[in-house]
Amino acid sequence: MRVLVVEDDPDLNRQLVQALSEAGYAVDSAPDGEEGFYLGETEPYDIVILDIGLPKMDGISILEQWRRADRNMPVIILTARDRWSDKVSGIDAGADDYLAKPFHMEELLARVRAQVRRSAGHAKSEIECGPLRLDTRTARVTCAGQTIKLTSHEYRLLAYLMHHNERVVSRTELVEHLYDQDFDRDSNTIEVFIGRLRKKIPADLIKTVRGLGYRLTQEPDEA
């Protein structure tokens, strides 16, 4: 899952990047409105954390312009101005949730998880696919009740596939959503991690759709 953090306070920005990275997200960050707007318009993020009071371009204008351009990723607004008029104008501009400063990082992470799940069409915090069960709150994956030990990269990959299960996910999409913008997109890391995952879960759950990508499914092989 790829997250964009747009926050002008360098310390808070660093903390957000750190906490989200530790929670298994690929994080890009922008220190001002202009860069944040550009990144959000060009990169496919699964969620954006957007401060309202930003230099160069304020958060509400950024959000309005994204929505006008049909950029529909979930956006959580972050601001010190916590009057209801601010909240309403944020939501009206197209925000999905609102968090007032100061906040607990746990609360932010919970809201990020909830928005990511919701945008992938899952109502509950646990996502199931056949014997696999992903608890987004604890970042734990079990297979038929047994906990599976995963590295953080493996977890990110599996979590993305589970969020979008039964759908073909291309290699490019995986790269775009699992790694931040500095990642070398030509490497074959994805193939390596798919191979590792197939060894830890029932191998036939992840299907390779030739020429298109991968699909996590509980359906038996068509062949």
């Binding site: 008029s85 100061p102 919701r118």
Partner: protein
């Protein structure tokens, strides 16, 4: 008319000056008239005396005879008040002669009474006449011959003092009546003048009422030159009042921004630090956050309290909050069932209404199972003219609260369930805000199962 009013001052001054000036003028006119009439009366007596005198000695040689034509018919009507009398003095020969009007009565002689003559040689005296009449007598003393002991005669003419008094008194009565009427007319005119003159002040009063009820933003209209500066000053005051509030709001917002971002940083930094220092800093940062929120709310409220009251349409605010909260709570699927009277208008600042409704709705959405009932009604109390009230009720179908919990809730910072997010300051700031508008917040069990919060606020 109140005692301490411009109208009363103007009116009282006019009344007092009228009461002083009119009687004084009356007295002056009365005495001038009396003097005029008396002089005319004396002049008439003097003329008659001259005629009687000339006529009586004209045809006489040793003693005065009865005068012939004196041209005054009243000398022939008995007790008419007009008399002449010729009387020999100190044993002078001749008859005592009188006008037919005097009949048998004898007028006293001023000469005998020792009255000195005036410059024209006439002696004047007021005395009693026939029938208890009062008469004014003028007399000349005439001597036949140059000798020292030549016989002397008193020639007198009298006129009725009662007639004179009646004339003057009649004039006095008429004058008093006329002046009283004039006084009443003056009072009426003054009343009219005061009302008409002070009409522009009524215009200002109405203008200010319109501003208070939010129908106008400033005092408009042409006013007289004297109170135009007042109008300008009031408009300037209204504008500066709004600017001060806006500035205070901006400052408060800036302060919030300036304090809260560093607080967020400290809080997060401290939570990563597992040492004792870390937990202490986290605990203190939490206290600071609560205090900052608490005093920011108070500062905002103080800014509102100084404001000249504005009016806020309730429906747009309610719909915006409904929209925002349904989106925030869309995963939970909470429906906010809004029922708002079209004419509902809150007499106060929009931001304060948003804060009260937003916090209550947020609270209701947090606890609701599936729906929140949000109703806004206007209650117009009897008698007509009393301030209408805005009654907002927000009810959820959540688990609700016990009697004990209902009592505890609303105390600052108290949260009954720490698992639901929120600082717990929501309800107490709602209560305080409502109170600052002389309104109230009531909490009770809802018939739908959850909490029922009712706001009673001033409507416009």
């Amino acid at each position: 008319m109140r005692l301490n009013s411009l109208a009363f001052r103007l009116f009282a001054t006019a009344i007092v000056s009228t009461m002083l000036v009119l009687p004084l003028a009356g007295l002056i006119i009365y005495s001038v008239y009396r003097q005029e009439v008396e002089e005319g009366f004396d002049e008439r007596i003097r003329q008659l005396l001259t005629i009687v005198h000339a006529d009586s000695i004209d045809r006489a040689e040793a003693e005065p005879g009865a005068p012939g034509q004196v041209g005054e018919p009243l000398f022939f009507i008995t007790h008419s008040g007009w008399y002449w009398q010729i009387k020999p003095l100190a044993g002078a020969p001749g008859q005592h002669q009188v006008s037919p009007s005097l009949a048998t009565f004898v007028l006293p002689s001023p000469f005998e009474a020792g009255v000195e003559p005036d410059a024209q040689g006439a002696r004047w005296m007021n005395a009693g006449g026939p029938n208890d009449q009062r008469v004014r007598i003028a007399e000349t003393v005439y001597a036949f011959g140059e000798e020292k002991d030549a016989p002397q005669y008193s020639i007198a003419v009298a006129g009725p003092l009662d007639w004179l008094d009646a004339r003057v008194a009649g004039f006095g009565t008429q004058l008093a009546m006329a002046l009283t009427l004039a006084g009443i007319a003056l009072v009426a005119v003054t009343l009219l003048q005061v009302r008409f003159g002070l009409l522009p002040l009524r215009a200002i009063e109405n203008g200010l009422a319109a501003i208070r009820s939010g129908k106008a933003a400033r005092l408009d209209g042409e006013l007289p030159a004297e109170i135009e500066p007042l109008q300008q000053e009031l408009n300037a005051l209204i504008q500066s009042n709004q600017e001060i509030i806006d500035r205070a709001r901006t400052q408060v917002g800036n302060l919030a921004h300036a304090l809260k971002t560093p607080l967020a940083v400290i809080t997060n930094e401290a939570r990563d630090d597992k040492s004792q220092l870390g937990s202490k800093v986290a605990e203190q940062a939490r206290l600071m956050r609560d205090q900052v929120n608490h005093y920011l709310d108070r500062a905002r409220m103080a800014a509102s309290a100084g404001s000249l009251v504005r009016v806020t349409e309730v429906l747009p605010v309610a719909e915006a909050l409904q929209r925002a909260l349904e989106r925030i709570y869309r995963d939970k699927g909470v429906a906010i069932l809004l029922e708002c009277a079209d004419e509902a208008r809150f007499q106060g600042e929009r931001q304060d209404l948003e804060e009260m409704l937003g916090n209550l709705l947020d609270n209701a959405c947090k606890w609701a199972r599936s729906s929140v009932r949000f109703k806004v009604a206007v209650r117009r109390p009897e008698p007509r003219g009393a301030q209408p009230r805005l009654i907002v009720s927000i009810e959820d179908d959540g688990p609700g609260l016990s009697e004990e919990q209902l009592r505890q809730i609303g105390k600052r910072g108290l949260r009954l369930d720490e698992t639901k997010p929120g600082s717990g300051l929501g309800l107490s700031i709602v209560g305080d805000l409502a109170h600052s508008y002389s309104g109230s917040l009531g909490l009770a069990a809802s018939r739908y199962g959850g909490l029922s919060a009712t706001l009673d606020l001033p409507a416009a």
